[in-house]
Each structure stands twice: as C-alpha cells, then as structure tokens.
Amino acid sequence: MISSKNEVTQNVAEEIKPGQPLLDLVNVCRDFDKVKVIKNVNLVVKKNEFFTLVGPSGSGKTTILKMLAGMDQPTSGDIVLGSKSISTLPPDKRPTCMVFQFLALFPHMTVGQNIEFPMRVKGMRAEDCIAKAQKLLDLVHLPEDYYNKNVMKCSGGERQRVAIARALAYDSEIILFDEPLSAIDAKLRKTLQKELKDLHRRSGKTFIYITHSLEEAMFMSDRVGVLCKGELKQVGTPEEIYAHPVSRFVAEFIGDVNIFPIRVKPTGGWGSTDFPGQLFKVEPHGDDLEGYIIVRPEALKLVKEGTQVDNVIECKVLNQFSLGSRSQFQLACGKKEITLELPRSEVDLNSVGKTIKIGWNAHDAIFVTE
C-alpha cells in the first residue's frame, strides 16, 4: 500500500498462510566476548500464533528477541523469514516491531503523536493517520480523548496500551514483546494479559513474547519455548509443557514439584537414594535404567485405610500453608523434603508434627532422564 523500506520482507511475510512456518531459526548461536549466550537454537514460529519464549533471567531470551528484531545479529546460524534470510537486515527492514520492556514511549509527544509516529514515518496522509490512531485507541480500550493527552501523564496500564497501539500502527506482520508487563502490579497484569490475548486474536498478527514467568506464558500463548542458559529445552503447547516436561529444569520452572532420583537396583526393581530400602513402581519410557521421577504436589494423595496407590511413603508434617481453596503441606521423609497439596475439605487442621502416609500412582509421576 505505502512504499516503505520493509516492503519486501513484509510482502514475504504476508504471502505465508496462517499456521504455516513464518520464522525459522536455524542453528542460531550468539557469543559475547567468547561467552556463548545462545547455543545452537533451532525454532520455528508459525504465522498468526502467540509464541512465548520463557526462561529465567540470563537465559538469553532478550538476546534472541533482539536478533529477531534486528538490533543484534547471530554469531553463526541463520534467521529465515519464509525462504528469505533476514539475519543481517537492520530493524527498519524487517516485518517486526518491538514493544519494549520500559515501553520507550516518546515523552515529548502526545498519545496520538506516539501512535501516529510510524505512520507518519511511512508518509501517510495526516487525516489517515488520525483516523487510524483513533481506531487503534479504540482497539486497545483507551478513550478517544486520550489522543491529545500527554503520554507521561498516563498511568502504567494506559502507557502499556499506548505502546501496543503504536506497535500495531506500524502494521508489521510480527510484534515482539520484551517483558512489557514485568513492572506492573499483579492485578492489573492479569487484566492486561487477557487483553493481550484478545488483541492477538483480533489483530491477526504473529506475537512473539518473552517473559520470565511460565505462568504468564501458559496463560496467553499458543505455544511456549523454554530457554535455559542459552539452550532451548522444550517447545510445545502449554498443556504439553505442563503434562510432559522433558527435564527436571522445565518441571521445576512450572512450579512446586517433588523430584526423586531413581534407578534400577542390581537386585531388581526401582529404588531411590532419597528413600533407601524402598522399592517403587515406575513407568519409564524405553529401556532407561536410571533417571528422575517428578511428582506434582497435587498428584500426591493422603493414604488412609483402603486407599489404593502404587507407591506409599511415610512422612512427618513440618508445616502447613493455606492457599485459599487448597492447602499446602511441607513434609519430611528422612532428609528429603516433600511438598503436598490437598483440597481444603481433606485437610486435618492439626496435623503439624504428626506422621502421615502419602502415596501416588505410577502413571501420575513423570519420568525424565535429565
């Protein structure tokens, strides 16, 4: 429609059908002064999906985002858009647009001028700019009269929306989000997460989001990639990640889990160094002879007379915490600490100090090798 420098890549992106691979990261590595920050990342982002990269701080997620935006380049490997390599293109020649962590709103401009900036840069006519800016204000649920408001006088949540509207105004195929919700209080964050998810559906753009909160990632995304120390550990839908974590790291990242090392004893049967002398029923995949089993606190059951479970252990109750509708117990079995979660109705209020039996079924535990 309007001639701009990123026309070529934008066209490439537009020709790809929804659900087809849009961005392809091939063996991407990035070194900073010989320190390997990104190690051989392979990743495909599909068109129109909400993809989230999640990882603890220092895992390299911002570096990957910057390489996607064109503010950094891979040391080796390639970033491919459709079939065109874009690794060396500058930011203004890519079909991407970034929403920054601290938003990077232009403080000397009004809300309207901020949103119009990318359109004016493209050379759009003034009345078209205003009309589109008004539309975008409506899209991000900001009142019309905010058009003339000083952007520095907006609240945190409002600024967030202005930043997103500005990115949408650029009308690029891909919008990149650099933890934009990290500085916002918990309640407002939930609202904005819902809005963002909704906005993704309505705008029909491809969203690539990074965050350190897996909870946030699972809440909004179609697919999630878990990053650790520069390596991509697992990619999948939120359900896949939750139900089938591939490693201890991924499982621990999701939340409280109990992890026991486990191996086949020379005398036969599975044993664990955490519980000497006890045998367990385990469902390994393949012929692995050692690994770890992951048991979620809510998969553990309180063992009473007549309860049928595959594995039972005896623990002492150290502490009890209320989570509202559920209660969490901190237990000890020998030196091993275990976390148990029960619905409120099952809770014995005076259990601290007592010894109880807990257990789990083999198919509720997840077996991983690393």
Binding site: S4, P91, D92, M98, A104, F106, F117, P118, V121, Y170
Partner: protein, 297 residues
Amino acid sequence: MTKFSVQKIKSSLTEFISSKGGKCALPVYILLTLGFVAPLFMVLGFSFATPRSFSAFTSFSLDNFIQIFDGSTSVWRSFLWSIALAAFVTAILAVVCYPVAVGMVRIFGSKTSTFISILFVFPLFVSENVRLYGWILFFGKNGVLDGICKLLGFHGPDILFTPGMTAMGLAYSYLPYMLFPVIMGVALVPKDLITAARDLGSSRLRTWWQIELPLAMPGVLIGMLLTFVLATGSMSESKILGGQSIIVITNDIDVSFTFSQNWPQGAALAVVLTLIIGSLTLYAFKKIDLDKLMGRS
C-alpha cells in the same frame, strides 16, 4: 494593608530561615548580595550620574544612555559586533560539539569518555591568555603555520588580527562551555527511544530530528545560552587575537573606565549589556528544570 504585607514578608522570612535548605543557602545568598547584587547596583547608580563624574547617587542624568543610542558615538557598532560574533560562535560550537557529545555518551566506553572529559576540562584551568597566545605563535609571522608553509615553498596566510580570528578565538575559549551541557542533554535521551524509533521504520535523520534532538534540547539550550552570554561579554579574544581590528563592547566599557575616565559612560554601557544578557538568561531559565538536567540522568 502595609501591616499585613510586612507580616507576610516576616513570616516567609522565618520560613526561609527555619527550613534546612534555607539555612544552607544563606551563606551563598550573603556572598551574592555583597559581591554581585551590590556591585551591580553601584553600576546602575553610576549609569545615571552626570557624565565624567566620579560619584554615584548624587546627580541624575539620562545623558549616558542617550549617548549610546543617539548615534554620536560608534558604540552601537561595538554592540552589534559583540552580539553578531557571539551568535555566530554559538551556532558554530553547537554544530562542532554535538557529534562529540554523541560520541561521549554512546560510542566511547565510560572509561574513555571520562578521560576525554578530563582532556576537555583541563584547558579551563589554564589562563585563557596563555592559550590564546599559543594561537599567535601558531598563526603569526614565522609561527608554526608560516614555518610549515615556507618549508613547502610558499608564504603562510596573513590572517592574524582579523575579525575571523576573533571568532576562532571565541570558539576556542568557549568550546567546553558548550560541550558539557550538550553532553548532559544527550545523556538525557534514553537509548531505547532511539532503538524504538528505528524499529518503527524511522530513518536515522528523522530519528535524530524528531526524537533525539528535542529530548536533548534542554542541554543544548543551556550550552548555547552559556556560550552566547560569555562570548558577548568576552574581552581577551578581540584584544589578543583580533588585535583591535574590531572593537567589542567590553572593550568600550574597559576604555571608559580606564583610558577616558568616564565611569558613568562605562556604567551605562555595562547596564545595557547586562540587560541584554540578563533578559536572555532569565527567559531561558524559566524554560529549564535544573533538577531534571543535573539529577539522575
């Protein structure tokens, strides 16, 4: 009515003295009252005295001011020279210093930048006469430039003691006064904003013009104000490098006080100069928040 306002002044004075900031500001206020306000008041008094008298506040006359503007003297030309030179030098220095400031803030590492700042601060500590004299040795007959030209087989240019040389001297003397405020200004611009604008498709030139420059403007303005004011009130450059090829206003003031012994005349000139500089400074100060510029930037 009067009683009420006296009380009001009294209460605001008490408030001033009882606040910690007011107490701390007091020594500075005393110094500036005795060393800045009172002397300027004396100058004002002299400017209204009868020409060629040596006491203020005993006579009243507007002759000194009338003389400046009625065209009987050429002093208006000195004013024009001073202001034109200062404006020219300010513009040149803004252009010269901006790229250096960008380099200091964004390109050189913090250690190199500190070292370069020290290199730029240092000349301020050497008497400007000494530094200006170095230019005479450079441009003068048998000087460094002339010597190099002779080695190459032709005569060096004879540009010493011209208005252009005065302008160069002013640019030379006041470069640090432009550079440091501009550095502060450029440092005010978050790097994210530049990246964001580029990411939104804006060209380098446009990003500079619409994002970086407006946000760095407070620093640039302070720098321009400082250089303009100091250059308007400068004297050594035109005397040493300009060789009196042009007379600047401070020179006229100096002559009135020393050679021609007409203190009221000099005082009137000083008052007009102060009015020009003061109104400009006060206008600029109104627009600039110093806390923001100097604080955690």
